[in-house]
Amino acid sequence: MSTIAEKYYPSEPEKPVIKTAIPGPVSQEMLKQLSGVYDTKASYYVADYYNSIGNYICDADGNMLLDAYCQIASIALGYNNPEILKTTKSDQMSVALANRPALACFPSTDYYKILEEGLLAVAPKGFTRVLTAHTGSDANEMAFKAAFIWQATKKRGDASFTAEELSSVMDNKLPGTSDMVILSFDKGFHGRLFGSLSTTRSKAIHKLDIPAFNWPKAPYPALKYPLEEHEAENRAEEQRCLDAFETIVSQWPGKIAATIIEPVQSEGGDNHASPFFFQGLRDLTTKHGILYIIDEVQTGGGASGKMWLHEHYGISPDIVTFSKKMQNAGFYFKDKEIEGAMPFRQFNTWCGDPSKALIARTICQEIMNNDLLDNTSKVGAYLYSKLEDIQKSYPKLVSNLRGKDRGHFISWTMPNASIRDKFLFICRQNGLNIGACGDESVRLRPTLTFGVKHTDILIDIVSKALSQL
């Protein structure tokens, strides 16, 4: 029986092809040219997307790397996926690109169907509505806006805006502006615009020199691994964090409009917590009238073996934000009141992009029609067991392996950043494109078509790289 990768990508290479150092001479020359017009300080190499295929990214020197990083976790099905290609070449797509609408004012006749068959067909259980946005940061900030409007509306009741509110808001002053806050978590990452960055607490480099709102930060559980050997300690740690959360809620001088949390903190180091912790937050937010926003920007789209990682926890948040693998950003919600009592408050010119909604629809349908969640769970379990063996073989280099039963949303810790970075470098030279997270962690973010044969190659290269450290 052929695997999904074989079905989509009959010409996918059997293994990586390495012809030069990475970046090779062609990449280096191109980066030099590109740096004349673009900041290339974060560039690894120049990619050749025409010749990339499936789980393999091709670079400008013709090297083919197995990709377990996938454009920072944003390629769902693999490069040059034939079904997405079909969508991109459809008439519906060219009409969408050549006539980009202001979606809230003049939506297209087909927008309902595109949403219904795509983004909404995979919505978390009970979520019936969607607001489309442009990026993960945008989605999160729109969710914050929804929370501020919702809270203020609740407070104001049926009353309309007062004259004082109407005039003070134009001067960015109370009572028209708001002193409500968003509560986020230590090591959280929610984007880099001014509201989202104020909730991001991953690394100083993300935040330095940018004015920020004085918003509070709660501790996120630091669990000990392996989980099964530290159950009592971890439970106590999660309870400590829940208590700290409630202390902040009761002591913060203003109103907390919403809390935002990733089901697994990704940029911040792939930090997991248990259903107990996430349900605890649900209980506390309900008790204190705080909206519960789950940020599924990196975790969503199926890599955990469920469409939305928080579904592993059996919780029901108020708002779920998404972007990355979905290619379209936005947030889901259940309660129409989240839209606010008046139009044109949650509004902008485009309110999304139908060309992205079309691609999102294809991705969602492919995930459903090909049982890709099931595939991801199985491959992830195999991958995790192989990595457990590696952790045993290299206990000094590999620790805190995490992501069991979370598909291939897997990561581990290395002794320090310089060893980690050297490890990633060696992996790339051997044909594995792989990414970092947090201060000293490695994260795996392959596509949903990543299979057993890709896993074996990844494990080989990881072992080889570890043996060279």
């Binding site: 673009y38 202001a102 004012c105 002193d179 880099r192």
Partner: protein
């Protein structure tokens, strides 16, 4: 042969309104379905973009409206423009969509070409571009570039951070997160996220209930019209407003790192200002070590007869950053000082760092404007249209006032006596076959495509005359 005759041979010669209301019965059913999953309270009608052509938008009931609102000023070359359709159907387009790159990390082999194709159309004096996804995003990324630059000037461009800075920023506190301000203007619109929302001062509904930064709001000149009859008053208005700006630089409780200003305040009512005012801002920013950001989100990409409206002011030295979006389809900012690129990677960074599909559309739009001399033709249309509107203003002085935008192609607006009358006028215009938009409390703004020609202007004027006679 005119552009539309050549490229939109099937464009209707006049609007066609088939239903008694807009939206008609089909539209109402469609909106009801959509409203089950999506907020439709701002929806005017459902559009059939496959059937829309050139300057005419078709709705789901087959009504065909002349469009002078154009997706809130964001359709540059008309619906189903063949040049854009060709780009949309190209293999290169399919490739950038199916493999959307994290451009900061893994730019593709053709990315340099995309950058350079766009840079060909940079405003005078600008050399570089940073890409974004929306106007609000572009403005906020421009603020970030300014703040990085402001602080790096203080510590030395290549110097590292102090431990205290690194620690305090994780708590959202100074010195890591310094208190720095962006100065904007009364009635300005720069977007609706939190920093862009803080500099937006157009209407309470855009801002209400949102936390905002304590940033200063200066006054934008409020001129008397017609301009040539009110020169003295308007000159003194410039002086007054510049003094207010300078006073903020002297007295604001924290440093003002930049000024952001639209060449024509659009959402805020199509408020124009003079070269003196804009050069005055340029001089003040230089004097006080601040940057000048020109927000060309709505004015840019040819709508005023120049590719970038602020070019008419020949600012010296050029603006520091120029932001764009809307008609460009892509978004971002142009700049020329290399030190507006932060000293370290991953500071001005995000997953996608723009969208190559939109950059390709952008470049094609700009190229088409140049190749087909559309700035010239839109200016010709604008001169004709302004003349006709002057006649209407003379005929209906109680309904039309403060006609503005002379010499700025079709970027024209006028005021009506009240919001209610304006709204009813816009509604009646739809039933008369013209899709038209308001701005601020009393304004009506014209935002047609760059392929709007005298024949379209005539249809517009005819419909307006009819509707005005019934008010």
């Amino acid at each position: 042969m005119s552009y539309t005759a050549k490229y939109f041979p099937t464009e209707p010669t006049e609007p066609k309104v088939l239903t008694e209301t807009i939206p008609g019965p089909n539209g109402q059913i469609g909106i009801k379905s959509l409203s089950e999953v999506y907020d439709t309270r701002c929806t005017y009608f459902l559009a059939d973009y496959e059937k829309s052509i050139g300057n005419y938008i078709v709705d789901s009931d087959g009504n065909t409206l002349l469009d002078v609102y154009c997706q809130v000023a964001s359709i540059p070359l008309g619906y189903n423009n063949p040049t854009l359709l060709k780009v949309a159907k190209s293999d290169d387009m399919a490739r950038v969509m199916v493999n959307r790159a994290a451009l900061g990390n893994f730019a593709g082999v053709d990315y340099e070409k995309s950058q350079r194709n766009l840079l060909k159309f940079a405003p005078k004096g600008q050399k570089y571009i940073w890409n974004a996804l929306s106007g609000a995003d572009a403005n906020e990324l421009a603020f970030k570039a300014v703040f990085f630059n402001y602080q790096s000037k203080k510590r030395g461009f290549s110097n590292g951070f102090t431990t205290e800075e690194e620690k305090s920023c994780m708590e959202n506190q100074a010195p890591g997160n310094p208190e720095l301000a962006v100065l904007s203007f009364n009635k300005a619109f720069h977007g609706r996220l939190f920093a862009s929302g803080s500099v937006t001062r157009s209407k309470p509904v855009h801002k209400m209930d949102m936390p905002s930064f304590k940033w200063p709001k200066a006054e934008f000149p409020s001129y008397k019209y017609p301009l040539d009859e009110n020169k003295d008053f308007n000159d003194s208005e410039d002086v007054r407003c510049l003094e207010i700006v300078e006073n903020f630089f002297k007295t604001w409780h924290c440093p003002i790192a930049c000024i952001i200003v639209e060449p024509i305040q659009s959402e805020g009512g199509d408020n124009h200002a003079s070269r003196t005012f804009f050069q005055g801002l340029r001089d003040l920013t230089l004097k006080y070590g601040a940057k000048l950001i020109i927000d060309e989100v709505q004015t840019g990409c040819g709508g005023t007869g120049l590719m970038w409206d602020h070019e008419r002011y020949e600012l010296s030295p050029p603006a520091d950053l120029v932001t764009f979006s809307k008609k460009m389809q892509s978004a971002g900012y142009f700049f020329h000082d290399e030190e507006l690129v932060p000293n370290m990677p991953y500071r001005q960074f995000n997953t996608w760092c723009g969208d190559q599909r939109l950059m390709m559309l952008s470049a094609a739009i700009c190229q088409e404007i140049q190749d087909e001399d559309l700035l010239k033709s839109i200016s010709t249309t604008g001169d004709y249209l302004f003349g006709e509107l002057e006649k209407l203003q003379a005929k209906y002085p109680t309904y039309l006032a403060k006609l503005r935008g002379k010499g700025k192609a079709c970027f024209i607006a006028f005021d009506m006596p009240s919001g209610t009358i304006r709204d009813s006028f816009l509604k009646k215009m739809k039933l008369a076959g013209v899709n038209m938009g308001g701005c601020a409390e009393l304004g009506v703004r014209l935002r047609p495509t760059l392929t709007f020609e005298v024949k379209h202007a005539k249809v517009l004027i005819d419909a307006m005359s009819k509707v005005l006679s019934t008010l």
